[in-house]
Symmetry: C2
Subunit: 340 residues, 2 copies
């Protein structure tokens, strides 16, 4: 489809295929990816294998959402001519690399990983952590190094995963005696994290406080109507608080007219500006943002052959790259080759 550029830095990012993406993803990563695809050689990984680590008992959900997330990518403007969208389970070299790397990482080191600790707590695994979950930083190291990515956009809480990746890369390089694998830079994108419509810190489908990218006009309307504002701002004339007020946080994220937003905030703080008026302004913005995304998504959903072709092309490209890395690592380590 496109000649891989050798000059652009390689960026790897993606999503676990556990559900369609929402407005929080748009602000937190998708918008950034649409920009990055012009300046970087970008790979988006539909991480269906990794999704199984805590969804082993609902593989059907994981399968279904491969297409849902791919639709979200394409709908927001990810261009398959610029970005390779690939399916993780279509890349067996990543499993082979993971198994190799697992010999170079101790269990104690994995257990110390702060991200893993937090996630084990959040998921309530207790002592019943699946082995696949404990080892997912190793699988992620295989993803990143397999693509020879030099840039990996991560949330602040995920920086330890990149440290783990680079530690593995150094160990493998050290064992081989030269730098076959590339160390990656964790880039924490300068994007806001969008709170849920209920005011909770994180927008999440499972918390029921998310606005999906495919939301219908009514759903957008309802979500804005339900949005958490200032519970003490009872009458229009009351002074209101802007801090922690989701509607204003969203205006900061989506309203290009910064002066207009500043003016609204001042009026809201003084009193005399009702929630309804602010919400009306936000609703127009969200309807305008989401309408073309929803329409492109619906059109793409009617053309599954096209979407499959995009995934097949992207995965084929990714297969060649990850297979080449695997072969380099195996050859570097001096492993046995049958030569077929």
């Amino acid at each position: 489809m496109h000649a891989p550029s050798t000059t652009k830095p390689v960026i790897l990012t993606g999503d676990r295929t556990t559900g369609p993406l929402h407005l929080g993803h748009y602000v937190g990563s998708l918008k950034n990816r649409v920009t990055m695809q012009d300046t970087h050689r970008q790979f988006l990984l539909l991480a269906d294998n990794q999704a199984l680590a805590d969804n082993a008992h609902d593989p059907e959900k994981v399968r279904r959402n491969v297409i849902e997330v791919a639709l979200d990518y394409l709908a927001v403007g990810i261009d398959p001519e610029k970005t390779s969208i690939c399916v993780q389970s279509g890349l067996p070299a990543l499993c082979e690399l993971t198994m190799l790397y697992m010999n170079f990482v101790s269990v104690a080191r994995l257990e110390r990983n702060p991200t893993i600790k937090d996630e084990i707590r959040a998921r309530g695994f207790g002592r019943d952590i699946p082995a696949g979950f404990l080892c997912y930083p190793v699988a992620q190291a295989a993803d990143i190094t397999g693509f020879k990515a030099s840039v990996v956009p991560v949330g602040e809480d995920q920086a330890p995963l990149i440290e783990q990746t680079n530690e593995i890369a150094r160990r493998i390089n050290n064992q081989i005696g030269r730098a076959v694998l590339i160390e990656a830079e964790a880039v924490i994108p300068k994007v806001g994290r969008l709170p849920g419509i209920d005011g909770k810190a994180k927008m999440s489908k499972s918390q029921g406080n998310a606005l999906p990218l495919s939301a219908a006009p009514d759903e957008i309307k309802r979500a804005v109507h339900q949005m958490y504002t200032d519970p003490n701002h009872v009458r229009v004339s009351d002074p209101g608080s802007v801090e922690g007020n989701v509607v204003f946080t969203y205006l900061d994220a989506f309203d290009p007219d910064e002066d207009g937003v500043a003016d609204l905030k001042a009026r809201y703080r003084r009193g005399g500006l009702g929630d309804m008026a602010v919400k009306a302004r936000l609703e127009v913005l969200l309807q305008d943002l989401l309408a073309p995304i929803r329409q492109r998504r619906a059109a793409l959903a009617r053309d599954p052959d096209f979407v499959f072709d995009v995934l097949r092309d992207g995965t084929r490209t990714a297969r060649a790259i990850t297979q080449a890395t695997l072969e380099e690592v195996r050859e570097g380590l001096g492993l046995f080759e049958l030569g077929f």
Copy 2:
């Protein structure tokens, strides 16, 4: 090479490729495998991936011994027309199955495995167990189920590994809703464990008490000469002890003339039979046993193309089988398929 029989039970066994095989292997497994290849559809796995779990820092050793162990197999009479000899790292489907299964086994369950506990202790890993080592029972479950083996010969101490395998098979089958995977039977072969020539319970290259299958006549002579007998049997006329006397243990294992051995034992116990006489008898037996093995091995070593062809054929056959199992499991779980 041969049409896979659908009626013969499938047997999977093999060796980690960490060193050439020795007389202990011959008695403990190889002899049995030569017999089994007539009654079973037998696969011998050269487990180079698994060997890396505790040899990550010496991959060259693991590579080199793929050929060494293959030579041992062929030299003792494993017939590639009857047995598929295959290289584990040439079977990526096993890595993919391992990664899938890892989501169905908890870390706590792996830590409870008595075999793993013992081996962690024996290898002195302490808290620095490589993740690959902790998870190797999962990889072994992938091997066994990947081949749909119904029979797995194991040492007594390895029975927990088959329990773990069958537990995983049941979980996967349960998730799928039908028996895609086969539960395997652990068969503890009725073979003696040959002690080391120094009288230690286990013959092991690392302990320096092993007699390799490729041993030259001088090496055999020296080994028999050094063999541990009865330290209290100083003069020929002294009564001697047969129990724990390695020479007699070996005669039990290798001398077809049971009555003759019984007679020797009686004379030794009474006094009047010297170690040299008993050792002379054993040496003849061992020279006769090992000479044709050594000669076949040397001839095969001069024909690396033939050995590579055997491994390629066997691995190709194994690839088709393990890939088919992977596809069945993926399809059964309902995972995403790109269809290429």
